[in-house]
């Protein structure tokens, strides 16, 4: 099951050239771009691991592409996303994020039902991948 989080996730995967253009767009808007990766793609897992620092003073997207290449080399079997942070006063938050790398195989989520008092049912989604210990989840 293809995971759809962030922008462009219903589109076919962006090519490197398209990623570069999007990143350049972010930089031209004065947003600091950075990379994050994870192997726990639960929708509520907002805090992914950071790859390097946010790039506050790089005027060109080539810098992020360089880091992306490095990050793919190290964590090519996990999810990697680009995060564009707007530091301007009043915003100070992430303006755009999109996935730029996925594991080859995405098993998706299991729906768990928990019966509680009064025959109520609580639902939980769990990534199948999370059954395995962190670090060995994909591939």
């Amino acid at each position: 099951m293809r995971i759809t989080q962030g922008a462009f996730s219903f589109l076919p995967d962006l090519t490197d050239d398209q990623i570069r253009k999007q990143v350049q767009y972010c930089i031209d808007n004065d947003w600091a771009v950075s990379l994050e990766f994870t192997d726990d793609p639960h929708p509520r897992n907002t805090y992914w691991d950071m790859w390097g620092h946010p790039m506050f003073d790089n005027p060109d997207a080539a810098a992020l592409m360089l880091e992306l290449k490095e990050c793919r080399k190290a964590y090519g079997d996990r999810y990697i996303r680009v995060v564009a942070f707007d530091a301007s006063h009043g915003w100070e938050s992430v303006k755009l994020t999109f996935i730029v790398n996925r594991p080859a195989d995405e098993p998706g989520y299991r729906l768990e039902r928990q019966e509680t008092t009064g025959r109520n049912i609580r639902y939980t989604t769990k990534p199948y991948a999370a059954d395995r210990p962190a670090g060995n989840r994909y591939g």
Binding site: F8, L11, T15, Q18, Y25, N58, P59, A61, L66
Partner: protein
């Protein structure tokens, strides 16, 4: 979502032109303006200007060839600027960045000027991230490494400079589309640096040597600097400054235009002092902006015995 750029198709099918008018290209790309500006703003430096003109012509032709589908590789654009201090290397590097930007060889056209301290770390594992950070900042523009020979310290084999050099070389080779590196420094020390780092020599296509300024060129530079700040020299001060330049050159640590700028700064200081101490009534604009001979001859250069004789 309006906040995202449209991901348009990446390979627009451009028509291959059958003929390109170089003259027209020269003017429309703005290269002409950059070169004209260079001629106008920089005094002297005839060989440098000639080399830049040649480089610009080469890049223009290369660009035309690329458009016609005759060339595919990005030419090597890394350069080395050698010359004594104060001969305009940084200024020319800035113009070079502008030139390359207008020709479309670099995307942003900014200049990141660094020295050894910015690239080399202080402990193990510190250098690589530091160098990378600078390289990332310079991407899309020009990385100007002043006094590049300090990167290599043969007397200390555990020096971290070597690590910075290796990263630099790698990026210079693999990311030629993304940034242009300009190394600068004194001629002799740069020659020695290149000898001990053959990797650099082979990756640098353009070596430009900056000659020292002649005395009359320095005087011209001085007048230009003062004009810029709305100061002027009276006739006697011009003579004194001519004298000063000749004397200053013979002394150690002469740094061409930089020495002149410092001398002028000090002359302004003395002028202000003189006005403050001697003026009785109100001063007009003319008095406030005239530097007289006394402001220049008070320099220690005139009282010191010249070493070179």
């Amino acid at each position: 979502m309006s906040a995202t750029a449209t991901a348009e198709s990446d390979t627009p099918i451009a028509e291959i032109p059958t003929a390109i008018d170089l003259r027209e290209e020269f003017e429309s790309s703005g290269v002409k303006d950059v070169l004209a500006e260079l001629d106008r703003d920089l005094v002297g430096l005839a060989p440098v200007k000639k080399r830049i003109r040649e480089t610009a012509a080469l890049l223009l032709v290369e660009r035309a060839r690329k458009r016609m589908g005759l060339a595919h590789e990005t030419p090597t654009l890394h350069m080395s600027f050698t010359g004594n201090p104060g001969t305009g290397k940084t200024t020319v590097a800035m113009r070079m960045a502008d030139l390359l930007h207008r020709l479309g060889y670099i995307r942003k056209g900014h200049l990141v000027s660094v020295t050894r301290d910015d690239l080399v770390g202080q402990y193990i594992g510190h250098t690589a991230p530091k160098t990378k950070e600078i390289l990332k900042r310079a991407m899309g523009g020009v990385l100007f490494i002043d006094e590049a020979y300090y990167l290599y310290r043969p007397e200390n084999e555990r020096d971290y400079g070597q690590e910075a050099i290796e990263i630099l070389l790698q990026v210079m080779e693999n990311q030629r589309d993304d940034l242009v590196v300009i190394l600068a420094g004194y001629t002799q020390r740069m020659d020695r640096f290149f000898e001990s780092n053959p990797g650099f020599r082979s990756r640098i296509a353009h070596h430009i040597d900056f000659p020292d300024y002649a005395d009359d060129e320095l005087l011209q530079i001085a007048t230009k600097m003062l004009e810029h700040q709305n100061y002027k020299l009276d006739a006697k001060a011009v003579a004194a400054l001519t004298d000063y330049i000749a004397k200053r050159r013979a002394q150690p640590h002469f740094a061409n235009a930089r020495s002149i700028r410092n001398a002028l700064d000090r002359a302004r200081l003395r002028q202000a002092n003189r006005l403050f101490e001697t003026s009785k009534g109100p001063l007009n604009a003319d008095a406030l902006s005239t530097i007289s001979a006394a402001d220049i001859t008070a320099s220690r250069v005139f009282s010191m015995p010249s070493r070179a004789g």
